[in-house]
């Protein structure tokens, strides 16, 4: 049982990053009722941003993180205006295929521009290992976890206490009532989309020093985020947070027990199980899934 501290630390570090990806996805769903199938592509683009800033400008990924924040937010805003706004009141199938189209386009832009090769960032500290108690882990992973937790906490505080955050929550609860109260829901949607994209963008830049980047890297992470988001209840922020830790636990403990080759099957089965038994998620309202709303 000497592996327990290592497993716990690995779970926590992984869960922190998953949480940041999942929180952005669930925020967008909660407010806009749109499942963003292009979420993983924003992650991938952010990883490439960190990679190219490092390769061309010798910018450390953490410097890039600060500099790129407005850029990522702006990209989110623009993508909403260009792609999502026209279909925001359309049916689910139209919205699904709009984001799928966005995903295909972005993924293949990356493929054409930067080829399918996996690229690494070799920072001076990429091999630095931190030992703590019985556990050892990568320094970059620890930093990523720390910043991810800070970013998630900042988002929660923003939604909880800021006036804009309250407006967003009000829109999530009832878009018609919000509209009647004089809330400009169109602006709320663009802001929500941009904030959601920023979350996943930050996650992408944080992942860049730890994972290789390639055009389809988003799928791997976003699948996990789907699991976490559905597990926590689509649209439920706190649920997504807890569910991210659960998914990370399943992944880490699973790969320890049955090997890394089959670990994905565990969280996929967990996902299918949840969808079948309790599609509203662990904490969600029963019946939400049947409304399809």
């Amino acid at each position: 049982m000497h592996a327990v501290p290592q497993l716990a630390v690995s779970t926590l570090l992984l869960g922190g990053i998953y949480a940041l990806i999942a929180v952005g996805l669930t925020l967008i769903f909660g407010v806009m009722r749109v499942v963003n199938f292009a979420h993983g592509e924003f992650l991938m683009l952010a990883m490439y941003l960190a990679f190219w800033s490092f390769a061309l400008l010798r910018l450390d990924p953490y410097v890039t993180l600060v500099l790129a924040l407005p850029l990522v937010f702006g990209a989110g805003w623009v993508s909403y205006r260009l792609v999502m706004r026209p279909v925001i009141h359309a049916s689910h199938s139209v919205q699904i295929f709009t984001t799928v189209g966005l995903s295909i386009a972005l993924q293949n832009v990356a493929l054409v521009l930067w080829t399918a090769d996996a690229q690494f960032i070799r920072t001076s500290y990429y091999a630095v290992v931190v030992r703590l108690g019985g556990a050892a882990f990568n320094l970059a992973q620890l930093v990523a976890f720390g910043i991810a937790v800070l970013a998630t906490a900042a988002l929660f505080a923003f939604l909880r206490w800021s006036y804009t955050g309250k407006i967003m929550r009000a829109t999530a609860q009832d878009r018609q009532a919000a509209s009647l109260m004089g809330i400009d829901t169109g602006r709320v949607y663009s802001l929500t989309w941009a904030v959601g994209v920023t979350c996943v963008g930050v996650a992408g830049i944080l992942l860049a020093p730890v994972y290789p980047v390639y055009p389809t890297v988003g799928l791997q992470f976003v699948l996990i985020a789907y699991v976490a988001v559905v597990l926590g209840g689509l649209g439920d922020m706190a649920g997504a947070l807890i569910a991210s830790l659960i998914v990370a636990t399943v992944e880490v403990v699973g790969s320890y027990l049955i090997g890394t080759a089959w670990k994905e099957i565990l969280y996929l089965l967990l996902f299918i199980g949840i969808l079948v038994v309790r599609p509203a998620g662990l904490f969600g309202q029963r019946g939400a899934e049947a409304l399809g709303a």
């Binding site: 689910h92 199938s93 189209g101 295909i104 386009a105 996929l268």
Partner: protein, 334 residues
């Protein structure tokens, strides 16, 4: 939805053209394009049975296609079984899986169903690529080439073209049935408003499961024929999300829930792909991905300006009056 017999005119022209072309054209490149258009059109039609007519938007249909492909590959290499039998076995397997998935995710609507199907198809991807002892894992399997009709080995591409044409026409007729029969109207009712359909005595749950199972079997048949034609099965391709998306996209751009739409969508994407492949072969092969960029952007634009897809849009242009409000695509969910 009823358009009388006049509605099949364009289809007769299209399939008639596909039937005549191989008589005059021997060019392998051209015939290959034709075969792929018919095959992808058929696969997209199979998707359309569940996604278009029953409104069950699946993003995991590659698992059924892959089941058919693996049936051909495994039964052929391990037991020397005829692909025709593999076709039946694959379809039976896919039907079973379709029943299970349809049953398990019966309550799920909208994006939830799509997410569930992605998860199911990923399970197959992992099984196909990691179960080395049975499926040869990520290396994939070469499908043995045995000349003859019973073993589905044709050197002549024209034979393939006619086989795929039969498949395509079969799929078209099935969709036509769903467009015009009582069963089809019931499915449309379920798609538009499940609760209303239920209250009118339409067996909504059963119909949805049946649509998914039939759709799965048809996708599997396409997979078997594809495997025999291409001669190689790679788990990362046949079970990929990309392939699932490809089926859905052809149907959605062409016209979701229309019989001809999937073929039009498949023709557009295949022509774009093969012409770019011919243009940028060899050194600039990376540029072939441009067709998917174009396709992604085109999809966004179609969803924006003609959400019912191109076939209903073209039909409305011809009639010079506004398109009928698309079923399942108009009206916002509050």
């Amino acid at each position: 939805m009823t358009r009388g017999l006049g509605g099949v005119g364009p289809a007769v022209a299209l399939f008639g053209f596909a039937a005549i072309v191989p008589l005059f054209v021997r060019d392998a490149f051209f015939l290959d394009g034709l075969i792929l258009i018919l095959l992808w059109g058929a696969a997209a039609s199979a998707w359309n049975v569940a996604g278009g007519y029953a409104g069950q938007i699946s993003l995991g249909h590659s698992m059924f296609f892959g089941l058919g492909a693996y049936s051909a590959a495994l039964l052929g290499t391990k037991w020397n079984v005829s692909p025709w039998i593999a076709l039946v076995v694959g379809a039976a397997l896919a039907t079973t899986v379709g029943f299970v998935i349809g049953f398990l995710s019966n309550r799920l609507r909208g994006p939830y169903f799509g997410l569930a199907t992605i998860a199911f198809s990923q399970v197959f991807l992992i099984a196909g690529s990691r179960w080395r002892g049975f499926t040869s894992g990520s290396e994939g399997i070469a499908v043995p080439f045995r000349p003859g009709f019973w073993t589905l080995g044709f050197v002549d591409k024209r034979a393939w073209a006619y086989l795929m044409l039969v498949l395509a026409i079969g799929l078209y007729l099935i969709q036509l049935y769903l467009e015009r029969s009582r069963r089809g109207y019931q499915l449309a009712a379920v798609r538009e408003d499940e609760d209303a359909a239920l209250s009118l005595g339409v067996p909504a749950r059963r119909l949805k499961v049946a649509a998914i199972a039939v759709s799965a079997a048809l996708a599997s048949i396409c997979g078997t024929l594809w495997a025999q034609y291409v001669g190689f099965v790679d788990p990362f391709y046949v079970f990929s999300v990309d392939l699932s998306v490809r089926f859905a996209l052809a149907a959605v751009t062409g016209g979701i829930g229309t019989a001809l739409g999937p073929f039009l969508g498949a023709a557009l994407i295949t022509v774009l792909e093969t012409s770019l492949r011919a243009r940028f072969g060899g050194i600039a092969a990376g540029l072939v991905g441009i067709y998917l960029i174009i396709y992604g952007v085109a999809l966004i634009l179609v969803m924006r300006f003609a959400p019912q897809g191109l076939v209903p849009w073209l039909a409305s242009l011809r009639r010079r009056r506004p398109a009928p409000r698309a079923t399942g695509t108009a009206g916002a969910a509050p």
